[in-house]
Amino acid sequence: MSEPRHRLMDFVREEIMPHRFCSGCGCGTVLNAFTNAVEGIGLDSAKMVCVSGIGCSSWIPSPYFKSDTLHTTHGRPIAFATGVKVMRPDLTVVVIAGDGDVAGIGGNHLIHAARRNIDLSVFMVNNMIYGMTGGQVAPTTPAGVKTTTTPHRNVEPAFKVADLVVAAGASYVARWTTYHVFPLLESMQNAMSRKGFSFIEIMSQCPENYGRRIGLRTGIDFLRQFKEKAIRVDKARGMTEEELEDRIVIGKLCDVERPEYVTELQKVTAEQVDLLRAEKEKVD
């Protein structure tokens, strides 16, 4: 008996499926939501470029999503994507990478891309750990947690990355978890179909290299926790920082219209080309 074929296999490199993510890993769910989102808004994957860095979640677009892909150095996918978008603004450029990539080593590129409001969609898969390298502390690891490089306990507070991106000036920012898949996919659709810098922080699970250190052995354990800890942004607004200490604020954090970087750059170029022409006509 031949096996049934999922319709979304059209959007992935089917010949290398099943993917290599561990059982219960959130990366597969993000890939699922992402392909659903692309299908849902009718994006032509031939007009997409997916950029990623180094880490488990960078494998979501590279090699699994079937489009032009740029699998870059650790921390730099947003900078690479900037070069692509500036020269081909007609293409939908999406960055999918992890918290280590986007908020750790590459944090500076993130805040500057948000400040410029360049039309990129950045989907940061936040599993709160350096998973691929074996479970070292990340800037997103909660305080108190034992990791391989904080064997006694982590003394640093975790980075609230989405809040940072709001402050840096992005057009659209949201935070969801791999449990909240329906709003996540809708949010991805919004991010990819609007102009300007869009950022979604996706709280995700790493049962292998994070979960087993904090007593969450399986993907299910994580999703239960995401479900329990999640609080809608509108409800969270009236709460104190202490009350929100151990919660995950989910929902749309910002949605504003601002001048887009590449559009503005193109205006400058068009003006300068015209000025040079005018100069020539004056001489003639």
């Binding site: 999922h6 959130g26 597969g28 699922n32 898949v181 993907g219 299910i220």
Partner: protein
């Protein structure tokens, strides 16, 4: 959302398919199906993962949560 689910339910005719060789036995579908349509089976796939089994397809309202939560593209829900 519930209204639309009920609407789907009224339309009936769901088909749940599991691509056995994609499944990695994470059991997320079993745990999070709102109507508990799945159950763990004692059947292993080629990779040695215990597969979920559909116990009561009629219970399914076709909400597709399992299809979307599945990290493996291993569940296909067809709503007629």
């Amino acid at each position: 959302m519930y209204a639309s689910l009920l609407e789907r339910h009224r339309r009936g005719c769901k088909l749940i398919e599991i691509t056995e060789n994609l499944c990695k036995g994470c059991e997320i579908c079993i745990e999070f199906c709102p109507l508990k349509v799945f159950e763990k089976s004692d059947k292993l796939n080629r990779k040695g993962y215990y597969l979920p089994v559909v116990t009561d397809e009629d219970q399914c309202v076709g909400c597709r949560l399992c299809e979307l939560l599945c990290p493996e593209f291993a569940i296909i829900i067809t709503n007629e």
